[in-house]
Amino acid sequence: MAFSLDLVTGALGFLFTVLILSYLIGDNPLFKIAVYLFVGVASGYTAAVVFWQVLYPKLFLPTVLILQTGDFMRGVLLVVPWLGFAFILMKISPRLAGIARITMAFLVGAGAAVTIAGALTGTIIPQMIATIDFFDPSLAAARNISAFEVLGNGTILLVGVVTTLAYFHFGARQKPDGSPKRFAPIDLLSWIGRIFIGITLGVIFAGVYAAALSAMIERINFLINFLTSLLGMS
């Protein structure tokens, strides 16, 4: 294996992988060194990406082009990002930080509006319709699903949704001794909902474990490949 950039990057990758894996023995300075380095590198990389892929192509470059061409009418829209850019920079000074609230208010307002609209049109309504469609035999036939399967899936889905929502209903009466007492049907539904929630969390945990296991396997495979390549065994 020749001394190349791949060797250097591979060696650094090997080193930091070992440092991260050292967390198995607990929090230690080696792990902290690796974490600090990753955080620093990630921050620098993020700053570079933001400048070269956001500010430069979408703010500075258009401005330069407008100044070069003299077509200031096209640059009218650039006034808004420039103002927002200037206002955000006011956060540097505590006395002028209030000016940055204008830009922040704009961003938060626009983001909230976009999020709510997207959630309404992209999640809530489609999911409600999808829950109902589970009981539509025509759709099941279109998907090549039998009626029993559709009925079974729809029933499980309906029970799971109802019981899960019932679990998060925290209304209760107060017993003579002061302790809360749920309404009996709600208490029963919530108990069933706990099962669905448990299963869901178990599935998510399995997925997390599977993802982490895949990442660890990839890292171990990298280490083995690097060592075998370094030792000339491959």
Partner: protein, 846 residues
Amino acid sequence: MGANDMMDMVKCPLCGTMNPPTQKICQGCQTPLSGESFQPGQAPVKKDTGELEPILPQWLRDARETAKESGLGERYQQSEPNQSAASSSDLLAGLQSQAKSDDEEEVPDWLANITGAPKQKQKPEEPEEFTGVRWVETGHRDDFEQEDEVPSWLAGMQTPSTGADEKDELTEWFQESGAGKDSFKSPFQQIGNSIPSSSQPKPDDTTPEWLKQMAAEAGEKKTESESIDWFSQIPAESPAGSKDQSQEPSVPALGSDSSDWLSKLQADVNTDAQEEAPESSEFPVDTPDWLRNLGGVSSGEPSPFIESAPDEPEPLIPEPGIPSWLASEESKKSDSTPVWLQEKGGTESDVPAWVSQDSASTADSQAQQDNLESPVEDIFSDLPEWLKSAAPESSIFDEPAKPVETPSVGAAGPTAQPDFETTPAFTDGGIPSDADGLFTEMPDWLSNALETPVTPGASEPGTGSDALASNVLPSWVEAMRPMDQAIPGSSSLMSDQTFEQRGALAGLQGVLPAGLGFAPTSKPKTYSNKLSVNDEQLKHAEIFEQVLAAETAPERLVTERQIGASRGLRWAISAILIGVILTVTFLGTRFLSVPIGVPNELRFTMAVAQAIPENAPVLVVMDYDASRAGEMEAASAPLFDNLMLLKHPRLTFIASNEPGAILAERFIAGPLAVHNYQNGVTYLNLGYLAGAQVGIRAFAENPMFAAPMEITGQPAWALPPLQDVKSLDQFALIVLITDDADAARSWIEQTETARGVVPIVAISSAQAAPMIQPYYDSGQVAGIISGLYGGAIVERQYNNGRPGLARNYWDAYSLGMLLALVFTLGGGFVQLGLGLRDRTASRGEK
């Protein structure tokens, strides 16, 4: 109580109660004993009274000027550094001395006697400063009573001068002065005593002529110096007449510049001083000559004052800093009686009657005092109140032990003591021929007293027509009249000059006088602080204490034992898992088969992918972290390998997170490197799309505006990968590669309306697949490839094992999942067994 103690006692100006020197408030009437302000009628204190000089009578001013011109002023000024009384025979010397800083000694005694105000500041701790003069001023009655040395006439004057008992002594004194007794020189003697002099002024310069004339008329011999004759005789006679001089006040020495009558008085005193053993006391250095002459001795000569113990005369050694007129008293530590009051019976002929009453009559003084109590009150009935209180109890103004009806009786008593109250102050023959010219400059009250014909037999005080009435006092005397004494009941208010130290009245003085009626009249009642409780109350108190103790007692909190993984168990699981994966990966085994069954979401994904046209634009969204690159590449590589191999799509990568752009390059250059895709030709990287959901929404609405540039800064939408693509719905397929369910949801939600019928497939991490599954069930997502499991299935079922990455991980992944299952189930069973054991044990205990 010794004589010194009695000297230290301070007399209350209001009620006459003797108070200890440390007492600031009278024990009898709660009247402050000392004030710090100067008010009309109050005795001059240590204040700058230079402002009073303009209001002095003309005759006094002239006298002062005369004294200054004759050099007396210089001598007086030279003597001031000694801090003496700085007084000469000049009556105004005391006023001049008031401009000095010394508070105590600058107050003329004669003025203090007249006003009756207490000394502003006394120093009982320094016995050197106590003299017989002070004793006379303060009028310590007890001194005379205890020592039985008080003459009968003084005994009669020891009645408290309070209330209606006080008499107009000044009026009587003037009346008596008109009686014309030869030996009556007490007023001047007192003046001479009250005006000490530290220097030796010449009598010709300072003594008024009228005083000389009066002395000449009295027929007294003059001293060899300029001392007043009759006044000089007093010290000489007093020692001879005194039996116990230690108990009698000594007279201050007179200056050499005293008048003739004073000198004569001194000569008389010296005569008696030769007869008895002189005092061993020493005069201070600054004792003036007139004082030494008064005692019949000079510096270095035996003192004319006789102490009780020593017989050898001692020279007068003045002490620096002590007034000369006080030094004489200082020499006699325990003697508080003036020398002029210590005369004996053998010298009555040359001594004024009031002086001739000595201690020889003290044996009879008590009886005489008892008999003369009431007559004295009658005699002083005409005196103003302020004069009664001003005059010391034992001063010369006090009524002798004689009946009022016979004040002119001369030597009363078996000892033939001169009856001083019958002795006129001025005789007819004593007034010089040029007295008119002298009296033109004298105050009215004094002129009237001299002009009044003196009748020896008409010595009844306050009744003769020649007596000076109190209401005709000169204005300057009236100004010094103590108003608090004239107004009964207000004395305490006026004398209460308490200087407020704190509060809203800080800095003010005398604004809250203590009235007589406000003083505590009786001892406050005392109440017992012992509680009287019964047994029941004690029981209740005990219960209450127990309740309080229970409330404040710390209560132990029952906390559940924190359940944590055992370090050894954790290390064991880690070792097993890592060892198995490391071994399998290192060995590269492939003994575990890939699943054969294909899930529906994966099947639909492959169907959609294989349905796109040839060389169709495909949008690839990269939204996963670098840590998930291994999983995501293994999951997505089979699909893209299949597409690139079969459909040769034009790939356009865009990232909704920062590392997505670089991960896209890694993905192309890594698992898909075999396809040799070129940036800008067969694929395009638009880079990072900022703004999260807003950016995604903007890109969905107008991709050319949201992402105009590719990662290298070239205009993206003119490049071959995006040829004929102007909007989102013009892409043939949208592939979402993400490990975050929220990112997948954002892309699904925000592109819901913009993408139209363009299918979107999700290649997700195993951890995000369950959250994306509902979008597949709802039809919003065409298909899902979930993690390494989905990639392995696609690789095996749809791609003929290419690129083989998932398969390389599959054995380790399968064993890892199996171990996880084992550990999870094993742990569950262990916990179940422990729970059953505990429950069984608890049941057994019950």
